[in-house]
Amino acid sequence: MFTPFEMAIILSEAEAKALLQKVLKYSKADECEVNLSGEERGNIRYARNEVSTSGNKINQNLVVQSAFGKKVGTATIDEFDDASLEKVVRRAEELAKLAPENPEYVGILGPQTYLKSNGFFQNTASITPDVRAEAVSKSLELTRAANLTAAGFMDDYRGYQAMMNSKGLFAYYPSTNVNFSLTVRTADGKGSGYVARGYSDISKLDTAAATRIAMQKASASASAKALEPGKYTVILEPTAGAVLLEQLFFGMDARQADEGRSFLSKPGGKTKLNEKIVDPRVTIYSDPTNAELPASPWAGDGQAQQKMLWIDKGVVQNLAYSRYWAQKQGKKPVPFPNNMIMVGGTASLEDIIKGTQRGILVTKLWYIREVDPQSLLLTGLTRDGTFYIENGKIKHAVKNFRFNESPVIMLNNLEVLGKPERVVSTESEGNYLIPPMKIREFTFSSLSDAV
């Protein structure tokens, strides 16, 4: 019997292929598609300058989807001996026969050609509890010595996903990832600073350097002054910008727009596809092969992910079309992307601050929620370091604000874009390449006492 300790959790491409071929041989359905995945995750948390909880989790899954016409059934198993594999195929077929017809089922894809993307790094795959403890130790030494209080989290992943179907499609993608985040607070609780780093390759992670950034923000934000709420020029660090932009990314769906219930809808059943919706300097694309932000070259249904322009010079260039919706609308299917990249400029954050007469530097935003889907109005608050800029210099920290703003309005009020960097969303944990952005007339609607 298979147990997680007796067999590798992360199968090689050849092992995955052989296993999937074996499963498909049992199929008697019109169509059969098999998804296979395995992963190991490890994490360590610390707070109050001490390690708190930590853990390790192993998981794996084999999913069989069988179809007779438009009747579809799915079954899953984790035991990979021949009898179990045959059993899971039979079960999926029985469920398919019992299921109501799914009018939106469009059948499985034939063989696809995928781009090459390297998202697996052996360094990251080999992380042990000692490596995590050492990385955290470097961070804790600094905060303890400076009488600042650290609360942080490091989380790593190694795994693969593979799929094969009865029409000959085969896809395999192994990947690794490590996310590190840290909040440093002053001993009196009056200052707080944050940093987050996400990498596919752990050798790029320098927890000491990251810790110094959070420490600097914590100390600098300790004597915040209150400014009146209102419209301000803001500089959004990429960590702050990411959580607003991802709401726009999530909304790039053709069906919602066509149905008239999206910020991309127009009266009379039309959409804003091919229309300019934001400043012409805004270009947003996805690319699974990006070396800084590698992503799976295939979507969950096996479609190949291409380099795809979503917004080009302010114009909506593409929307995501599911295969069903594309067929219904007579369009080409476009899968939701596995990464998102916003083109920026060459200016550093420091350059942008230098060029700002009056403004507010926002380093992080928190608790983002949609208020109105029609305008994509979002609310949320600044957190962990907000600063007033005057004559090109940071003058002092300011108390946190609540904002009510739409990323669509915000990208129309664009002043400057800086150099993009890889950031981790503090809301979804998605990784993006996003530039720092200077925006005019950003709407802060009230003050918060929170630090």
């Binding site: 001490e50 989290f153 149905e259 609540r402």
Partner: protein, 547 residues
């Protein structure tokens, strides 16, 4: 499964997902498998003992073993289509230890024999030892008696998994048809059912076997004006509930009539969706965009539960107060010195909040928490004054408690348990008062029903909430529907502006399946009760924007 995944499922957010690909749900199974009895309790004990012994042999001074089988069923529809029927099962084991004074945790999917159990225990000890060099002070647990072999079952009348899927599909397609007949352009509806079969064994000698059920019927109706391109939505006024399919039994005694019908322990989904479609149309046709300013708010329990959750439930979590959640969920304004002063006025004198892990029909009710502590109820705010927090075994001593409050929870076998919010409820008013009588006294106000957009800062001072339905009150009368409403306030100011609370007759529960906290983030289900409550002079903003 988290809030975002669920919203995607509901079609409320665009990026579509395929349910079996949500990793936390586990494998998808035949619906009949959901009715199979899980592992025999004697086998669970044998496996748990293997892990307890292995951990002890490796040097653990404390161990708890959780063997969990988590079952979910979703029936997902839109308009006249069944989009998805998903049955999932996730089984595995989580072992938590203290070794060298430090916590360690390891989890394994499908552990079925003593060897798997022992290896998980050994891995947890290895992690604890690796991390103990970073520790300054060893973990101290409040003393806890062992209860021996005990069990607890949610007092449900009808196991939702026993109801044929066809009946559920017929209900939802009927709901969708009613929405369309009443003018909706689109409708999504979902039945979401959960059964947690949990077993915990601890070093203290507790072996608790528990059976927990939850259900959530929900829909989202959209109406569009094709000429202007404007659209409005209205979500269900149902409450996720710690009940079986009996929550969907229509009973006139569970209906609260008024400007719109609200529901107590039984939910009439067909009636609610009919009202929803009409109200979404009415919002488009005639609701007035609110004029920003100060209003007296009359908040229905279907709305107020979320304000209680965010501004009372969260700030009184002791782990937040102490800084353990500083890197994500945040800390709290309700610091220990405020509690120690014994006179911190959290709210007006009318305000009493009770924490409760036993309330029948609530999402938080269990017999024993996830570290084997028997559950109870206790006061958090009494006559407006902050009197206590929510604490588990490694925190109780910090606030001078002799024992844990019994509110430790993990959302799966694969995640580590930690302090989670119990049901936190506003006690009903002691003087007889109906909603009609409350409204009669309001000169300039807004009556809000249902929960909407919500956001609060990381120390729980500044918040902003929307709703599903807003009615303008002028001189004691409801004069019409409003839109574009959100209120902003500060927690202490808000609860001190509490001017009246309706009596017990109006008390109802609301709640969430997706209270998020921790890293990696975990979801917890929790209920909040209240009666309709009035708050004076709250700041209301207008949320309409042109893009």
């Amino acid at each position: 499964m988290n809030r975002r995944h669920f919203n995607q499922l509901m079609g409320m957010s665009a990026a579509g997902i395929l349910l079996p690909n949500v990793p936390s749900l586990g494998r998808s199974v035949d619906p009949a498998a959901l009715l199979e009895t899980g592992m025999d309790v004697a086998v669970k004990k044998r496996l748990a003992d293997a892990a307890l012994n292995a951990a002890k042999a490796k040097g653990a001074t404390y161990t708890d073993v959780r063997i969990g089988r988590y079952l979910n069923q979703f029936v997902v529809t839109r308009e006249d289509k069944v989009q998805n029927i998903v049955n999932t099962e996730s089984y595995g084991v989580g072992v938590r230890v203290i070794a060298n004074g430090c916590w360690g945790f390891a989890a394994v999917v499908d552990a079925k024999n003593e060897t798997d159990m022992a290896r998980a225990a050994e891995q947890a000890v290895a992690i604890a030892k690796a991390n103990s060099r970073l520790l300054k002070e060893p973990v101290k647990l409040a003393p806890q008696q062992g209860y021996g072999e005990v069990s607890w079952k949610a007092p449900i009348k009808q196991n939702a998994f026993e109801v044929p899927i066809k009946e559920k599909v017929d209900l939802l397609l009927g709901v969708n048809a009613a929405a369309m007949q009443n003018g909706a352009n689109y409708v999504n509806s979902v039945l979401f059912m959960v059964n947690e079969q949990k077993y915990i064994a601890t070093t203290d000698g507790t072996y608790a076997d528990q059976d927990i059920h939850r259900i959530w019927p929900i829909f989202n109706v959209t109406c569009i004006d094709p000429k202007t391109g404007k659209f409005e939505t209205r979500n269900a006024l149902s409450a996720p509930s710690g009940m079986g399919y009996d929550y969907l039994q229509v009973n006139p005694a569970d209906k609260v009539t008024g400007i719109t019908t609200r529901y107590n322990k039984g939910y009439d989904m067909l009636e609610d969706v009919t009202a929803a479609a009409q109200q979404a149309k009415q919002k488009l046709a005639s609701a007035k965009s609110v004029e920003a300013g100060k209003y007296d708010l009359v908040l229905d329990p279907s709305h107020l539960w979320l304000t209680i959750h965010e501004s009372v439930g969260h700030p009184l979590e002791l782990d937040r107060v102490l800084g353990y959640e500083a890197n994500f969920a945040g800390t709290s304004f309700a610091t220990l010195d405020k509690w120690q002063s014994k006179n911190f006025q959290y709210g007006s004198k009318l305000v009493n909040f009770v924490a409760d892990k036993q309330q029948v029909g609530s999402l938080g009710a269990v017999g024993y928490d996830d570290e084997g502590v028997q559950t109870k109820q206790w006061d958090l705010v009494k006559d407006g004054v902050l009197v206590n927090y929510q604490a588990i075994r490694d925190q109780a001593a910090i606030i001078g408690e002799k024992a844990s409050h019994g509110c430790c929870y993990a959302d799966s076998w694969g995640t580590v348990q930690f302090q989670r919010m119990p049901n936190v409820s506003l006690q009903a008013g002691k003087t007889p008062l109906t909603v009609q009588e409350m409204i009669k006294d309001v000169k300039k106000g807004i009556y809000i029903v249902g929960d909407g957009s919500f956001s609060i800062d990381q120390q729980r001072y500044n918040f902003q909430f929307g709703g599903q339905l807003y009615y303008e009150i002028k001189n004691g009368e409801i004069t019409g529907m409003l839109k574009d409403v959100a209120y902003q306030s500060n927690t202490q100011e808000f609860w001190n502006s509490c001017a009246a609370i309706c009596d017990e007759r109006d008390y109802r529960l609301g709640g969430s399946f997706f209270d998020g906290k921790g890293q990696p983030s975990q979801s917890s289900a929790v209920s909040h009760g209240s009666a309709t409550t009035r708050f004076n002079g709250v700041n209301v903003i207008n949320t309409a924007r042109k893009i």
